[in-house]
Amino acid sequence: MGNILEFLVKTGYHLIFLVLLGTSISLIVRYNSAQKEIFINSTNILSTAVNNKLDEWEGYFQLDEVNSSLQNQNALLLQKMFEYGINSTSAPAYHQDSMVFDVIPVKICNSTFTLKNNNLTLCQGSNNGLEKDLGVITENGILGIIRNISPNRARVMSILHSQSIIDCSLKNAGAHGSLVWNGKNPKILDLIDIPKHINVKKGDTVLTSGFSTIFPKGLLVGKVISVELPKGSNIFEISVEVFNDPSAVSYGYVIKNKMAQEQKLLEAQDE
């Protein structure tokens, strides 16, 4: 008790000052119109700034949740898109069961892009419906093909792998070729097997051809940045810059073709 009294005696002067200062400022703000306006404006600016900051922080906390919900919505949209064709404007009635492609959102746990043979690891596995030989894409490009699978993880052979060959076509020229990586720049891939009679132009868009059961037709891959015809060769050397940056992806989608099994069985009967 004595301590409290001592404290009050020592600081009472400052306390009285603060209380009276608060009183006079509240009087000023209440009864002087000019100061009142300035006060209201300033507090508005301050509270808006504080609110914005708080919203920003709150946004960060919800980012994960928002991301996964957006990813799910994207997956659904991609699924519809594959069904109707990428450039189709009409929207026929559809049923979930009748769709050929399933799109599964996935998270990328680990990836390399600097080696000669690059791989990715997905945080999902067979428990989430993934299977071997399914294609992995992002919103604006392709990532690779699932090679190995465990219950909760999947290993993907990246398009930046010396063994990776993806069947692609040129949008305007209409020709088919194979997309391979020469092991140098992760943004630049080579499109090979385009014969020299095709009219290939710089800037042409490279799409997936849809000939394999892995990727649907018409997925964006990249654009042609240089076309060369070596002397005495019948085949172009085409450099393609991919739209997505394989070194900076953390989310993707796995595409599951429900007819793949059937198509493979049918094609196997030829032999």
């Binding site: 002067y13 009285i16 000052f17 009276l20 200062l21 400022i25 009087l27 009864y31």
Partner: protein, 173 residues
């Protein structure tokens, strides 16, 4: 003792009435140069005896300011400025404390402390008062130039007027 209280009371009453009766009605703007004001009543607080309890000085300052505010039609502005000036009075006294200390019974007047000391004391404290007063009046740091000009051009004539009054009514306590 009672004569000190009476003297301070009369000094305060006289200065406040002089302020609200005469100075508050003067229009001192020189054309577009509107920075000149005359404010002398705060000197009453500055001249209270040095041993007056600090809390009492604060209360006096606040209510005197509030009283003046009624005549200036600016509730809180004079009160807040007076409060700030009274709050910093002990600090100013400490900074200017002579080697032999104060004779705490008396007021820090010119007769007691000498002309040089007195001028520095009222310059510092009235600058604090004026700066606080014009800051609360403008209420925004945007007007810092105006606040500064107002303070400077109020302190100089106010001190001058107060010195005249102080000479006319000079006392030993």
């Amino acid at each position: 003792m009672s004569s000190i209280i009476l003297r301070n009371f009369l000094r305060g009453l006289g200065l406040v009435l002089f302020q609200v009766g005469i100075l508050s009605r003067l229009d001192l703007s020189l054309g577009s140069f509107t920075f000149v004001h005359l404010i002398v009543y705060p000197f009453f607080i500055l001249l209270l005896p040095i041993n007056t309890p600090k809390a009492v000085v604060l209360l006096f300052a606040f209510f005197t300011g509030l009283f003046v505010d009624f005549f200036y039609n600016s509730p809180g502005v004079h009160a807040g400025a007076m409060l700030i000036a009274a709050y910093f009075r002990p600090f100013a006294l400490k900074v200017l404390e002579p080697n032999e200390g104060y004779s705490t019974k008396f007021s820090p007047t010119m007769v007691q402390m000498g002309f040089n000391w007195f001028i520095s004391y009222i310059s510092i404290t009235s600058f604090i008062f004026c700066f606080a007063y014009f800051s609360l009046d403008a209420f925004s740091a945007v007007y810092i130039f105006r606040i500064f000009m107002n303070s400077v051009f109020t302190i100089i004539p106010s001190i001058f007027v107060f010195m005249i009054i102080h000479f006319l009514f000079r006392s030993k306590v």
